[in-house]
Symmetry: C2
Subunit: 457 residues, 2 copies
């Protein structure tokens, strides 16, 4: 075994290095906790200099490094599969600069999404990306190009990253991007890093774009007799230019499961399926004019009702239940979370296909998610199925789902990333030439293949 | 000299191949016409198959290929500097699909921006990127990540490219992206191609995002006593969340020059400097509420007036003059067009610096451009200066400008690209590690260095 003593020279504070059995299990896994890796060392650097020295050491000694943020990932990207060093960036969580003139904030990667959102909203600014997991780190959000509910109106994390400071595999430091909106100055290295799941470089600083905080926000619940009708309305809502912030869909049985789990009642029970819309803006007139366009569309398209949630407790209950859908599933069974993305007009076809494979394999699938951007979240639920049967059937079922998404012009992941868990499926449905070029680009950044190796692509 | 006869087997139509002296000069240069290259062959392919066969042939025979669209570039990216083949994609200009449900349009790269805009606006849809040069091709727009005036509200070309079909240097075909908003599926090859100025691959198809066409649009002219006051108002307009579509600035002398050139009168003459704003939306109330926020800000910040342009002829005259600023300069003198981009709050400082170097070198610089995104357009004007003095001094002056932009946290190009003309400056102000990685990535895509080689980075 390699001598890691040199790390104690870099990291003066001994508490920030854990060796072998001192390493808590949670640092060897992710939020799913199913798979567990192995590592010789866990390090908590506090600045880019330490990260750089750790990478230099690792590069010289061919040590695999697995970076991690808050550990909320769902695809195994933070699981150390080849030993070596786990590089935990959670202590690098400072806000470095708020630039009120250019509307940017510069942060360390370990800051949590919820802390960033709270900080900027207190001063009437707004960081639009809003992934469901508020306890994720910004570095993690950037590494998976996290999306979230507000993507319909505001776009995804990629659209808000203006600049990054990176530590490269060999320990050198690179800065990409500036506080500018337009850039036609050489190859776009910044966007290559965003969504690369820690396979190309370590993010040590990020400058993010902010916008003024919208003064008004309205949540609306729309029950339908069938999911088809609900999904069919989504395209019409968007094409009517009603500018919704979010368009979520939920089926009745998924709601009931979450109601039981939270012991909370959903504000309505008339629908077999629901759309949950939000609208925001600065003026009541703007918000009302926008949601009225959606109202007309929905009522003409078979909506049973169009419920504007006025009471704070109704809004709270609704979003608490929406937020707990996955946890409620997990409370009763092991599950495989999927975040396939398809063109918006293929959403219904894809969801109907999930019902087909559900019947074919006898495995329950619940679906919900971001109807406004075709990002369908599925929980493929093990339930009481035996381990062996589950292992065999779930792989076949997942293979079918990924094949279908490709056929519909979709992609394996909208926001969670590929990591370890989806890698076999990703490699199967992605053109070989694309995977080849991804691997070659990795070699440019990481010629010794030490950075989160054998993940994603 | 190599035998190009094989090309006549690929391209059956002889009219689409020009050899040696048959090649019209315009295909050896760009819109600036200052530099001229040399090429053995000019080819006009009409489909991806032909492009693929041409690239296979070029790859096997180590022939340099210089791709071009409509030839409206300003930085020499389309000048063949190493002989070989000029690949003109202007005949590949068809609209392949309009997808009204997902709001996308799929086109060949040679289609002109104005033709695309006209086509979609006729059916009440909207392609938001709006670079000044409407005769540019979409392939060219993608290759420089063109920005334009509406970037303040809508973003740049990058934000509207959903998928690309590419022919690689070795002739193989690659597809990147899908009709989806969210993507966390492996490395982001698509964004690497956008803005790569034809150095990585040939774009043979593009799927672009559309939005519903805003029903209302208002142009507003705001005279100020000084440019400083005008620019200072810009940040306040944005931070007030008034959602302008475009914020342009123009100085009086630049307007006068264009007035003389066009023999047209600008609607106002009270200001030393002007902001020209547009607002759009679906409802009058929304547009009015937004521009009233800007009105309050401007009048509190020293604006002489706030002129809402109601007459169609006033709007026409204003935008005609705005559109002719560069042409008017070029009518009287050779000039070097610059499109440096700086953080918005550094715009005034940068423009003031241009006045300093103007005095220092005795070279006239006019400035105008996109105040809302820090993208400053400068014309560095030769005037009556002798050739030798101009060659010496203009290089020093440009060097100063690029150094200053770096110091202010800016970048060499916001939307025109680097090409040939800005390359020495780009290489000087860009960190060596970034340039190294760009070159290494180029080697992944183009190991024989045949695609638009020695351009940009």
């Amino acid at each position: 075994m390699l001598n890691y003593n040199y790390l104690f020279e870099i990291i003066k504070d001994k508490d920030r290095i854990k060796l072998g059995k001192e390493i808590d299990e949670k640092y060897l896994s992710d939020a799913i906790k199913r798979n567990k890796g192995e590592a010789e060392v866990l390090v908590f650097p506090i600045n880019n200099e330490e990260v750089s020295l750790i990478m230099k050491f690792s590069y010289e000694n061919n040590i695999i490094v697995t970076p991690r943020g808050a550990g909320t990932g769902l695809v195994g990207a933070t699981i150390p599969t080849n030993g070596g060093i786990v590089l935990d960036l959670s202590l690098m969580n400072k806000i470095l600069e708020l630039d009120k003139e250019n509307l940017t904030i510069t942060v360390e990667p370990g800051i949590l999404l919820k802390d960033l959102q709270e900080y900027v909203e207190k001063i009437e600014l707004f960081y639009p990306p809003d992934p469901g997991e508020k306890g994720a780190s910004i570095g993690g959000n950037i590494s998976t190009n996290a999306g979230g509910m507000r993507a319909v109106k505001y776009g995804v994390t990629r659209n808000y990253v203006m600049a990054l400071e990176l530590v490269l595999a060999n320990g050198s430091i690179m800065n990409v991007g500036e506080k500018v909106i337009k850039d036609s100055s050489g190859l776009d290295l910044k966007d290559l890093i965003i969504g690369s799941e820690g396979t190309l470089a370590i993010i040590t600083k990020a400058t993010l774009k902010l916008i003024p905080k919208p003064k008004k926000s309205v949540s609306i619940l729309i029950p339908f007799n069938s999911l088809d009708k609900a999904i069919d309305s989504v395209i019409k809502i968007i094409n009517k230019n009603s500018k919704p912030t979010a368009i979520e869909f939920i089926e009745k049985d998924v709601i009931e499961n979450a109601e039981n789990y939270l012991q909370l009642k959903f504000p309505d029970d008339k629908g077999e399926a629901y759309l949950l819309l939000t609208f925001d803006g600065d003026e009541d007139s703007e918000v009302i004019s926008n949601y009225n366009k959606a109202k007309e569309v929905c009522l003409n398209n078979g909506a049973i009702d169009f419920i504007i949630l006025n009471k704070i407790e109704d809004i709270d209950r609704t979003w608490k239940i929406r937020g707990a859908l996955v946890t409620a599933v997990e409370a009763v069974s092991e599950q495989e979370p999927i975040d396939i993305v398809v063109p918006i007009n293929k959403t219904a076809e894809f969801i109907n296909y999930t019902k087909e494979v559900q019947a074919k394999y006898g495995i329950k699938i619940t679906s919900f998610g971001h109807a406004g951007d075709g990002n369908v979240h599925l929980c493929v639920i093990k339930g009481s199925m035996g381990e062996e049967e589950w292992n065999k059937k779930s792989v076949l079922l997942l293979g079918n789902l990924y094949e279908k998404s490709k056929e519909l012009g979709g992609l394996p992941s909208g926001e969670h990333g590929i990591g370890l868990n989806k890698r076999p499926y990703f490699l199967k449905v992605t053109d070989k030439v694309n995977v080849d070029y991804m691997k070659k680009i990795k070699s440019v950044f990481d010629d010794k293949n030490i950075l989160n190796s054998n993940k994603a692509y």
